[in-house]
């Protein structure tokens, strides 16, 4: 946005952008969750309470379980 445009224009653009984000979060997102190809995965993530947004392995509990399981597999593998 042109920094020289009027304050009312800039505030309107700000409010419109926030409204757009809210539409994405509360309308588009939930609608996408109802699609046949997405619903099973979305429901599964909710049921298991998996943090699908995590960026590093220390933020996801499933990684700790997986590591423990793999360590036990490697350590106690029958010879």
């Amino acid at each position: 946005m042109d920094p020289n445009s009027s304050l009312s224009k800039r505030i309107s653009a700000f409010l419109a952008s926030i409204a757009g984000c809210l539409v994405m979060i509360y309308v588009v997102g939930p609608w996408l969750d109802t699609l046949e190809s997405i619903k099973p995965l979305a429901d599964f993530i909710d049921e298991r309470n998996i943090d699908a947004n995590a960026y590093y392995y220390t933020e996801v509990e499933e990684f700790a379980d997986a590591e423990l399981n793999m360590k036990n597999t490697m350590q106690y593998m029958p010879k």
């Binding site: 700000f14 994405m24 997102g29 969750d33 995965l41 993530i45 699908a52 423990l68 597999t73």
Partner: protein, 332 residues
């Protein structure tokens, strides 16, 4: 939105950009917009979470899938970007290549800082990664089921290719517990690679600068130009890795994994990265950002690189898990 792997980084950049491009970033906020400081502090804290002993979690198959395929894809994609696509910005090329081949946002942050990429280049890399993460976490489990692929192979495939760590957990668990265990372990081994990638990229770009200047400079000059936070990052990683291996695995699991890391450094690191992304958003202009996307080259680079990643990872995972080490696979 949490179902699509769109986490705090995306929202922080988005809200920052909305403010800066509409009402404008207030002048009194500007002293707090310290992107570099937040990123580098966050990265040193991240170093404490990079525990080198994790790479042995699944034995040699995991090392080959995560530590052999990943550098090959990274270097090949970078070469492709430079020689074939002729992307002008080497730093943008490297950031996108690392973000796609290693582990998404965290790799993008570390690599962008190591090669001193511009904040717009980091924003672009993060945006591309999040879009394709959302697509891949939905499509890949469906492809694996439809093709009748064994779930262990499918898990290794997803772990080595889906960028975002949380999305790997979701997609892996959705397939099966075994797929989750393998996918999560492969991704964790890739996460640990961030430190070495950042170090290697820093060395490469400092050497590149020297070659471009045409002057032969001494080690002192190279040391002066080397991004120091990488030293802190590697040092924190080495210290915590040594402590982890020396106190025994059970005590280490409690004190380091779930104590120092999950209880302290992870929280601090998360907040510093969030502040960094807000700062990036507050200092980014939409028009400037659009300029980096010209010709669609970043998108082409990402798609071509990810195609190579998907192909090589699947081949390597099959060879390692089913031809070379079938006994490990049978016991998982």
């Amino acid at each position: 939105m949490k179902h699509y792997g769109i986490g705090y980084a995306a929202w922080a950049i988005l809200f920052g950009m909305i403010i800066s491009n509409t009402i404008g970033t207030p002048t009194w906020v500007m002293p707090a917009v310290q992107t570099e400081y937040y990123i580098k502090t966050g990265l040193v804290l991240l170093g404490a979470e990079v525990l080198f002993n994790k790479i042995l979690s699944i034995g040699i198959p995991g090392i080959f899938v995560a530590w052999v395929v990943t550098p090959v894809v990274l270097i090949t994609t970078y070469w492709f970007g430079q020689k074939i696509l002729k992307i002008e910005s080497k730093t943008m090329n490297m950031t996108i290549s690392a973000d796609m081949s290693v582990c998404g946002v965290s790799a993008a942050i570390a690599t962008a800082s190591a090669c001193r990429a511009k904040k717009e280049e980091l924003t672009l890399a993060v945006g591309l990664s999040l879009i394709f993460t959302a697509i891949m976490m939905i499509v890949m489990p469906a492809v694996i089921k439809a093709t009748g692929m064994p779930y262990i192979l499918g898990g290794a495939w997803m772990g080595g290719t889906i960028d975002a760590t949380g999305a790997v957990a979701a997609a892996g668990a959705f397939l099966s517990e075994k797929a989750l265990y393998v996918a999560a372990t492969i991704k964790m081994i890739q996460n640990v690679m961030i430190g070495l990638i950042a170090f290697g990229v820093a060395i490469y770009f400092v050497a590149e600068e020297e070659a471009a200047s045409g002057r032969k400079v001494g080690l002192i000059e190279i040391w002066n130009r080397f991004p120091k936070f990488v030293i802190g990052f590697i040092f924190a990683s080495i210290v915590f890795s040594v402590i982890y291996t020396s106190i025994g695995k059970d005590l280490a699991y409690v004190i380091i994994d779930h104590g120092a890391i999950r209880g302290l450094s992870k929280i601090g690191r998360g907040w510093f990265f969030c502040l960094a992304f807000v700062s990036i958003g507050l200092a980014t202009n939409f028009r400037e950002l659009k300029g980096y996307f010209k010709g669609g080259k970043p998108l082409i680079l990402y798609v071509c690189g990810q195609t190579l990643n998907l192909t090589l990872t699947l081949i390597m995972a099959y060879i390692m898990f089913y031809l070379v080490f079938p006994e490990i696979t049978a016991k998982i």
